[in-house]
Symmetry: C2
Subunit: 190 residues, 2 copies
């Protein structure tokens, strides 16, 4: 079908959903507009009508995650105490990772995505703000190690093959618990 | 110099050290035999005399890490109790990551390295054994989440830009402490 029959918004959503499935299977670098078309049973031209390059699809996925993350960070920044800010930021990070669980690992380790993210100033700004909320003011040396360990661990574990059969709610609850344990263990003693 | 003047063993070590420096700067995919030669002030042919392909250099780096890991896993398997096995495996993982701290993240996320590791049956067998020692017998659901979170967090945090100024001993001590905290928090209650 050279001319999509669905309205453009719906067509975009279908292309995005198909792209995410294929990214999870083949990685971003291993997925082409042609493969997305084949998966949807439409021509490559129909995919092209929605997104002119794979980079635009990656950007759309990234932007949806960035918007989610922004909301969580703003909530963390508005929390009444640094301790609460840290926990709100932690829970937000876990939610964003789990919302993109199937693709987050392949996207994190894909050089094409890295290049797109590095060029995305907004994203760099948000990860800095996320780091600040997770660290808290005047972080201990232990907190300085706990934050990257926890953030990178959550991001990569979300797609770990050993956890693929664990449902989102169980995984969310366990990650929240383990995250709080590390935050607590790296708090400055009073 | 078309004919290396140092004995072969020493030449190999110099090429490996230069390759590791360049992998850390440019990633594995972004490093060529020519670049390694330029870095050492020798011809590409002199590098070729030691390693016929970049894959052989990657394999040599991986094999050194695999040998280290094997020693730690054997020690973990020989520990008298499952609790001690978990801690020995944890400390071993931290040591292997810190010994390759500059390159571990770029190597973990490099598709070329992934392909080499996947073909390396020995490595897959070792990561399975490492997982078994970290999980312990009949792991709780919490431990099943804690292990990938911790292992992937340690592996990726080792090269985190925020921790680049922290010396190995401090980072090792903090990672060991945080690891023990998560192991403890995910132990079966008696």
């Amino acid at each position: 079908m050279a001319r999509p029959q669905a309205p453009r918004g719906q067509g975009r959503a279908r292309v995005l959903a198909a792209a995410l499935e294929l990214f999870a299977l083949h990685g971003v670098s291993g997925t082409s507009l042609q493969m997305i078309g084949d998966h949807l049973g439409v021509t490559k031209a129909a995919v092209y009508y929605q997104f002119h390059a794979k980079e635009d699809i990656v950007l759309a996925v990234v932007e949806s995650a960035v918007e989610q993350l922004r909301g969580h960070i703003e909530a963390a920044e508005a929390a009444p105490t640094p301790e609460e800010s840290t926990v709100v930021a932690l829970d937000g990070l876990i939610d964003v990772v789990l919302a993109h669980r199937q693709v987050v690992a392949s996207m994190l380790s894909d050089p094409e995505v890295t290049r797109i993210l590095e060029a995305h100033e907004d994203f760099n700004d948000l990860t800095t703000r996320l780091g600040e909320q997770l660290l808290g003011p005047e972080p201990s040396q232990r907190r300085a190690v706990a934050v990257p360990l926890l953030a990178l661990g959550i991001a990569h574990a979300g797609a770990d093959p050993h956890l693929v059969d664990m449902d989102d709610d169980t995984l969310r609850a366990e990650m929240r618990h383990l995250g709080r344990v590390l935050v607590e263990a790296s708090s400055r003693t009073p």
